[in-house]
Symmetry: C3
Subunit: 145 residues, 3 copies
């Protein structure tokens, strides 16, 4: 069973390490700007780093949910590859947002696009499974016959 999820598991752990990196950046920014918890407001330079981390945290469960459904019901390798592309776009988003609000836009649009591809891949895989399971219709076999 593990050979059907090991790539998804590896991308998941990489994603956790990226989240850890973002959390550390907020801790450094708190020290640099002298903003102690529980305060979350400060100069725009701090608020951009803080919001970049919060946004990444909010998207993380969504990303994992899509990664695993796409990998389990469509193709593990494709889902893991898309997952790596997403993690790269998140890194660019964080670095862009830290520099300026407008520089976050290109990577967030790209990353959201990758998530929509994962949605489509998961939906395709699930549709194929539902048709085969409930209607007895195997589309892949029909197409290749």
């Amino acid at each position: 069973m593990l050979d059907q999820i090991h790539l998804l598991a590896a991308v998941t752990v990489l994603g956790v390490l990226e989240q850890a990196y973002f959390f550390l950046q907020v801790i450094y920014a708190r020290r640099m700007f002298g903003i102690s918890p529980p305060k979350i407001s400060g100069p725009p330079e701090f608020e951009r780093i803080f919001r970049a981390q919060v946004n990444s945290s909010e998207y993380f469960p969504i990303f994992l949910a899509l990664l695993w459904q796409a990998g389990l019901f469509f193709h593990q390798g494709l889902a893991a590859a898309l997952g790596l592309v997403y993690l790269c776009s998140r890194y660019c988003y964080f670095m862009g947002y830290r520099a300026s609000s407008s520089e976050r836009l290109a990577p967030i649009y790209f990353g959201t696009g990758v998530l929509w591809v994962l949605v489509a891949v998961a939906a395709l895989g699930l549709s194929h499974f539902f048709l085969a399971h409930y209607v007895g219709l195997n589309i892949l076999r029909l197409l290749t016959a």
Copy 2:
């Protein structure tokens, strides 16, 4: 194996689409009220939509965790049905909160109730598994014997 999780996977993807809808509503509200990131405060009309999305994001991993444990250890169909009811209550919560703070109350109470049912279902399924696995006591078989 996939036939034991396909309903859970489908509800998971639906839940992701609902979260995507909530994110889009915040983006539209930011444009309408002219509140650019990283700012998160503004008129109550904006803050209600923003907080509705944040609250839904915080509950999303909790919902998924319960959905899957209830589905794996008790009954996939029941867990998926409860999951659909929860997603509906979340939609009503979001729409209610957007209208006024008090209109969020009824759907959030209902949705939290659904989550507690999922907790109970997961706990029942896990208790049954633990008793059978460690004590050798099969309650279902005792009840039907």
Copy 3:
């Protein structure tokens, strides 16, 4: 299959109950300090409880992701035990943060340490699987031969 994940599932449900407890504390604090949603700012006593819940919510998906990869690819019992230790440290963190900002530090450092151990355990298990799967190298067998 369920006997390979039942301890992980039980710790997951316990973690959900802990999150529910944190959410309730915020609701009580809102009532006590008279801070109605969507407001999130108030006296430091309220903001500390609020931020403790937000921080715990942000870490929850990260914790679950590590718990399951460590449990699936290394050892379920060890991962579940580390998970219980983490949940205890989160409780201490919440109670400490409620009392004062500085009292959150010791438990958050400890809890983060537990997460890093889970990262290491998951990475070890995954590395072992990748080596055996792609290189045909079984380290455990080599060590015990």
